[in-house]
């Protein structure tokens, strides 16, 4: 009669198997994501997270006829990193986790063997739009967190104002 307990050998085999599987999955994810170019002067984000966020800012605020300046032109990803640097560690970790989810979003939610940064611009827009309309509340929460930041940071920039017809802070206009 077989023992209902695992033998020591079986336990070790199982452990090794799980380890190999985990390492393979990790390597697979790393390979899928690819190497992000090095970025100087980041406070919190890794180069890969910066790349994800930069892609996200570009897809959220792309260059277009109405407003030519884009999220990447204003380096919103670095602005977010600067903001994050002064946030509590728990908030930093949460934001980093959110960026990981976005990066692996196509794999996790669309079951495609590709990561966000490696999608084409059109595919990125379709995927990111999917987050905003998702039935999954966490994806919508992440969407709105970044959308709010991008909107606030982008339209606060003087370079954007001429395109949106904002003449600048009213006190300076009053004093002219």
């Amino acid at each position: 009669m077989a023992s209902k307990y695992l033998s020591r050998r079986a336990f070790v085999r199982l452990g090794l198997g799980a380890g190999v599987l985990g390492a393979s999955a990790g390597l697979g994810l790393w390979w899928l994501r690819g190497t992000a170019p090095e970025v100087q002067g980041l406070g919190v984000l890794s180069a890969a997270q910066y790349r994800t966020l930069a892609a996200l800012s570009q897809v959220h605020l792309p260059p277009c006829p109405s407003i030519a300046i884009s999220g990447v032109d204003l380096d919103l990803a670095r602005l977010f990193d600067t903001y994050l640097f002064d946030q509590p560690p728990a908030d930093q970790s949460e934001a980093q986790l959110a960026l990981q989810l976005v990066e692996y979003g196509p794999l996790l939610f669309d079951h495609r063997l590709v990561t966000f940064s490696n999608l084409s611009a059109d595919q990125q827009l379709a995927h990111w739009t999917g987050w905003s309309r998702s039935s999954n509340a966490t994806r919508r929460e992440i969407y709105w967190s970044f959308a709010r930041f991008f909107g606030l940071a982008f339209y606060d920039q003087e370079r954007v104002w001429p395109a949106i017809g904002y003449p600048g802070p009213s006190l300076a206009r009053l004093q002219k």
Binding site: H60, P65, S66, S132, A147, G151, F154, D156, G165, L171
Partner: protein, 516 residues
């Protein structure tokens, strides 16, 4: 005359001196500043702690979104409910919410007082006490009606549309004096036109000898049942990001006025409060709605909120204020951009029409069902459940606002859902019934948090007694919007100043025998 001391001068290495006072007030907003001033004028030695900095004048109030949200709002403007559906906005600046609000003066209605008396046992204030305290609040605020010539195009459009529909509305009262119509009220008035606590009660408190400490965060009250309470205070750096040295303030009386989130947090940390602490919170989530008009509106200039559609505001005998009201709103471009729901070129194309925007907020009083808690990592969590009643009123409010704007000639009315709901004619209004209001489907805004340390005669369902005294502690009081049992008004500035006059006036008149 006393002075304002900036505690950021003490780095982590330096040790600030401990302090003593009769009254320590935690929070310098409408409740705290009023209480501090009343008690200082009554001859008490008062210290006020404020976590934020002192922002006065154009050099500090710059009319720029990122910098101002970072510095004058709690959690750098990033505080939300746990479900991320609602931005929970409150001031973190000397003068508190009064520095960053839209200046609307709407006192507590007689019907609300009647509800509180009948269903929540708040019978400690006579009609004449209430009338006198309300009058004092209105005087503090220099409350005055907004003049016709101050009504900007954004407000005129809402009035035009609602009047065409035959709906009731009114020009509101405000607390601006010599307003220049700069339009950046939500990130502070650089010319000091707001008669807010920073401009009224704080100078009066200083004149009466109160000492004000900025960049000073109260962390915990110790010896809560002792005659003298010790409050541990953490100095923050110049921007309020990082913690520095700690010191102690020893006080006979402690008054909490840090808003529902701050007050609840300090009471919890201090081991005070009943099971009701952090419960019965009302957030009044407001819904933004935008219309694109054929004419240039330039809503970013002028007084943002001047006219209110009050046709649908109701009073329920048991629940208090209900229904909804529609009020125009606008701000600087960053805050408007943060509410755009569509990603990509569609969102930008909408923002490119900014000068043609008319915009409003739909103000919906809610039932006090939210909770302020801390999770296992001791992180703040504000939990909110949308009731069916709220969802139903929200859809009615969106319909009503859309009808007003269509009536006023809007080309498109945009509701910032995902996907954005665009209404071009009355035929499209039926789509509004499909709005789910599920978490994170619409960017909602809470500017009027109330409850969490509600007052009442019953220890099971309230935290404070009818004097605002926290049960289980000795001479520890709450004097901010936390004490309200239900939503007090569509705008909380006048209500909280009224309540602070009532409670601080009573404390000054009946100084605890056991205190010094």
């Amino acid at each position: 005359m006393s002075e304002i001391v900036d505690c950021s001068q003490w780095g982590a290495a330096a040790q600030p001196p401990d302090m003593r006072c009769e009254v320590l007030v935690i929070g310098s907003g409408c409740g705290g500043a009023t209480a501090a001033r009343v008690l200082a004028q009554a001859g008490r030695r008062v210290i006020v702690l404020e976590e934020g900095g002192d922002f006065v004048g154009p050099g500090r109030l710059t009319q720029r979104d990122l910098a101002m949200y970072d510095q004058v709002y709690a959690d750098r403007g990033g505080r939300t409910t746990a479900c991320r559906s609602i931005s929970v906005l409150s001031g973190r600046v000397l003068g508190g919410g009064g520095v960053i609000n839209a200046c609307d003066v709407v006192p507590i209605a007689d019907e609300t007082w009647a509800t509180w008396r009948k269903y929540f046992g708040i019978d400690a204030f006579s009609a004449s006490d209430i009338a006198a305290a309300t009058q004092r609040a209105l005087t503090d605020l220099s409350a005055n009606p907004i003049a016709e010539e101050q009504v900007n195009k954004n407000n005129q459009i809402l009035r035009r549309g609602s009047q065409a529909l035959g709906w009731r509305g009114e020009l509101m009262r405000h607390n601006r004096v010599d307003c220049k119509g700069l339009g950046s009220c939500l990130i502070g008035c650089p010319v000091g036109a707001k008669r807010n606590p920073r401009m009224v009660s704080i100078p009066l408190a200083l004149q009466a000898g109160a000492q004000i400490l900025t960049r000073a965060r109260a962390e915990q009250i110790r010896d809560v049942r002792g005659r003298q309470k010790t409050v541990t205070v953490r100095c923050l750096d110049a921007k309020g990001y990082r913690e520095g040295a700690t010191f102690r303030v020893i006080a006979d009386v402690v008054i909490l006025a840090a808003g529902p989130v701050g007050t609840t947090t300090i009471l919890k940390t201090s081991g005070l409060g009943s099971a009701a602490l952090g419960r019965f919170v009302s957030l009044q989530p407001q819904i933004p709605i935008t219309a694109v008009m054929p004419e240039v509106v330039n809503a970013f200039d002028g007084i943002p909120q001047a006219y209110a559609v009050t046709e649908f505001e109701r009073h329920d005998d048991q629940r208090g204020l209900t229904g909804f009201r529609i009020e125009p709103i606008f701000g600087t471009p960053g805050v408007i951009g943060s509410l755009v729901s569509e990603p990509g070129a569609a969102g930008k194309a909408l923002m490119a029409q900014l000068p043609h925007f008319a915009a409003a907020l739909l103000l919906l009083p809610d039932e006090p069902l939210a909770q302020i808690r801390r999770n296992w990592r001791q992180q703040l969590r504000i939990e909110y459940q949308f009731t069916e009643d709220y969802r139903s009123r929200a859809r009615q409010a969106i319909q009503a606002a859309a009808r007003v704007y269509l009536q006023a000639g809007a080309q498109v009315v945009a509701v910032p859902t995902c996907p954005a709901l665009t209404i071009r004619s009355e035929r499209d209004l039926a789509q509004i019934d499909k709005i789910s209001l599920d978490p994170a489907t619409l960017p909602l805004i809470s500017a009027h948090q109330q409850g969490g340390a509600r007052m009442g005669p019953d220890a099971e369902t309230s935290v404070c007694d009818l004097d605002g005294r926290v049960r289980g502690g000795r001479d520890i009081f709450v004097m901010d919007t936390s004490v309200f049992p239900t939503t007090s008004s569509s705008h909380t500035m006048a209500p909280v100043i009224t309540m602070a006059h009532l409670l601080a006036g009573r404390l000054a008149a009946h100084w605890p025998q056991t205190a010094s």
